[in-house]
Symmetry: C2
Subunit: 317 residues, 2 copies
């Protein structure tokens, strides 16, 4: 295989994986589970009937269940792949139908709030292992997923102290087999790290696109025409799923507000440098930031191709 | 030819094009001039002797001149491709050596300040046509250029009212033949448009990379590892040429500060929505911003491929 995922496992890690919420992440998990043989059987459920029909058509699961309750029956692994604001209600719905010993995990971009809303609603005899694969694209829905989405990306696990060691090991094995590198940290630290590496970047991208759209002195048509000057880069993450991102901001409030405060403070300082002609201060910052990208590329988290290697539509003809 | 640039011109547009400053833009202009036959002869000069040697090695010009004064002799077109802060001094140096009727143009990302510093230093019998191709990558230097850099990008001309119509037409023909779409506007309007589509996006990208690097609660190693959550997108434009960008901010101060004020105001409003759990307000913005990217893609200014079509280093093996 040349996709980088390596050979199929000889023995599946789980008997039945149940995926709840089949968007970009859920459908990518279905695909890599099939591709690598991570489970004997995949059962899928999504609250949207159109998505369920699409999952059926795409052949992403062995069974598409008509309800979350039915979907979790007989599962030894349940993966919650819904927006973080929906996880608590799902946990409540499925709780009475989980077999003792079932492992429940999730993929939410916020961990402390998810632990609070999910763990409290699950029976004591199931194991909850909070997880967050740091991977995605700006596209949503079951058709947007692909088996290599997690390849060489990091998956962060934020187990609580009382976690069952075997459940933790099995989830680690699952993500490793899906191509990810696994890292452990405390949920509160995760939320701080992601606030700066993901949540605030998304917020400022959404914000500049909004600012540009609302100007009176520059038309929207001008913004679009001349977007290759840098603006267009921001529109990618500013076209990410609105529900998912609304939920993230509402559920990681203190960390986002703290990091946003730092960002704004630094931006005001930069504005002051511009106002006072501090060319040296600007030059020093602009030099320092170059080194960080170089390291990200060296560590395989980014491409070195100019312009992300993007090709214009007309180039591909 | 499959590069999209179309056939070579049967008759060159200029006898001698002199390029001053051979970085990403200057070397791309040299390449497209060669590729399309836009001039009979290309003369190049860069103030850095290493760059001059590289231009020689890369075969980007017919003549690599030892000085700006020598470079402009016999030119019917002189293109200034240096950082905007250096343009005034170059204009002063070359002014006595320009033949009557020579067209001088530039590629600076700021127009009012460049007109002020360049036009005032040129003799009255040469034609200055201020220009700005909205194109680039995060790489710098003569090796980074390529002939298709301007293909389907916009080149903005900001002629002053007293411009010679024929000189304007010849510069328009030059950029059109290089693959660009040409648009005219007033210099002050250009500077406002670019402040929001290019300058402020670069500033906030530099800023978030700086903020992330300076945190005490999150390590730089964590920022790098988990950058795929969105942060890495910003590192691309934050690794652009420091000298070029320092000069842009110092030379487009009022427009940048105005647009930055709008950005910050909107960001504070977003922060307030998060603080007060205004999920509807967040959702509405996040939905609106999606439509803008769609239009940018439709107009051929961006790729529709997920993640900009970026491939990880290991995928290319």
């Amino acid at each position: 295989m040349t996709d980088g995922l390596g050979p199929r496992l000889e023995t599946p890690l789980f008997e039945q994986v149940t995926l709840i919420g089949i968007g970009l992440i859920g459908s990518s998990l279905a695909r890599v589970t099939q591709r690598k043989g991570l489970a004997t059987r995949i059962v899928a459920y999504d609250s949207d009937p159109d998505v369920r029909a699409q999952v059926e058509r795409l052949g992403l699961a062995d069974v598409v269940a008509p309800s979350a309750e039915k979907a979790v029956q007989n599962a030894d692994l349940v993966l919650l792949c819904a927006p973080v604001g929906a996880m608590g209600a799902i946990a409540k719905t499925i709780a009475p139908h989980l077999a003792p010993g079932t492992i429940v995990s999730d993929v939410g971009s916020v961990k402390a709030a998810v632990i609070q809303s999910v763990a409290s609603r699950l029976p004591e005899n199931v194991h909850f292992v909070p997880a967050h694969p740091v991977a995605g694209t700006e596209y949503s829905g079951p058709a947007a997923g692909f088996a290599t989405l997690f390849l060489n990306r990091w998956c962060i696990l934020t187990p609580t102290p009382e976690i069952d060691a075997q459940a933790l090991a099995r989830i680690t094995a699952f993500w490793t087999a899906a191509g990810a590198n696994v890292e452990m940290m405390k949920a509160t630290h995760h939320d701080l790290v992601l606030a700066i590496t993901s949540h605030v970047p998304h917020l400022i991208a959404y914000n500049i696109v909004g600012t540009a759209a609302d100007l009176e002195t520059v038309t929207q048509s001008e913004v679009i025409k001349f977007s290759a000057g840098g603006f267009r880069d921001f529109t990618r993450i500013a076209s990410s799923d609105p529900t998912m991102w609304r939920d993230i901001f509402l559920n990681n409030k203190p960390a986002v507000i703290e990091m946003l405060g730092r960002f704004t403070e630094d931006l005001i300082a930069l504005q002051r440098m511009i106002r006072h002609d501090d060319g040296e201060g600007l030059f020093n910052l602009f030099t320092r930031t170059r080194a960080i990208r170089r390291t990200i590329i060296e560590q395989g988290q980014e491409t070195a191709a100019p312009d992300f290697g993007r090709r214009q539509p007309e180039d591909t003809e």
